[in-house]
Amino acid sequence: MLNVTLYRVVTSSELTDIVVTGEYHLEAGGVEGKHFFQSVDDAVRFARRMFHMRPEEGPYTITSITISVFTLKLFGKLAISGEGMAWFAPEILLPLGPVDVWAYCPWERTYET
């Protein structure tokens, strides 16, 4: 079966939940679903920007999930201006797991233009 890996950047509170459950859950508060990035570079850039905007929340953690291409078809695919390709898992697909928590943050790749 073909599998794909998607990357998600999480806050410390979401990380705590993942460590306990091993899954992505919908937090209380009425959010609609969860965004994932197709590339780890886009996730790293997102984490850096989030930290720059909300430093009081502490560092963000990269996580990933590997799912089948059949499950992926249930996600919404979006091109996000300035961010790259993202996938949206609606509420109905959650919880999702198992989640891999990255113990490190890769260096953001830069390209000559």
Binding site: H52, M53, A79, I80
Partner: protein, 160 residues
């Protein structure tokens, strides 16, 4: 009343390039400010964010449109609203200028609809240039400033 637009960047050369094009248009400004301060600016009613950044306020994956979402305001160090957008069809051919025009148009439309339908009003919208189509890889600050100013003035004229 048309909202004022504030574009924040920490690079002086970027702010200068944008502001040169905004000169004489009091409602559109570029300022040198980090995003953590931009979001706490007094009198800022809304901050533009692309969809993943606005997930916590319930941003939905809507293509080509912007959505106004309520925050908890000062309690979480945010303006009262965020405007979430910037989503395109993944197979569509795009370039930076197209994306800039499309995002700015979608923000104008969302603000106009919100101000018409809500007792609360959005009168000042902030953009952090790093979370926007303003990445300056292929569009210079000057070119981006020209596009934004033209669009803003067209919008004012259309409403007059």
């Amino acid at each position: 009343m048309k909202p004022r637009l504030i574009f924040a960047d920490e690079r002086e050369e970027v702010v200068e390039g944008l502001q040169q094009e905004f000169d004489g248009c009091e409602e559109v400004k570029a300022i040198c400010l980090p995003p953590a301060q931009l979001r706490r600016l007094e009198n800022l009613d809304a901050l533009y964010l692309s969809l993943p950044y606005a997930e916590r306020w319930g941003a939905k994956p809507i293509l080509y449109k912007a959505q106004v979402l309520k925050t908890r305001g000062k309690e979480e160090g945010m303006p009262p609203f965020v405007i979430a957008g910037g989503a395109f069809h993944p197979d569509q051919m795009r370039d930076e200028k197209y994306e800039l025009r499309q995002v700015i148009t979608s923000v104008f439309d969302a603000v106009e609809t919100f101000n018409r339908e809500s007792p609360e009003k959005i009168l000042t919208v902030g953009f952090w240039t790093e979370i926007s189509p303003l990445q300056f890889n292929r569009v210079s600050p000057k070119e981006a400033g020209q596009i934004i100013r033209e669009m803003y003035e067209d919008w004012i004229q259309a409403a007059a």
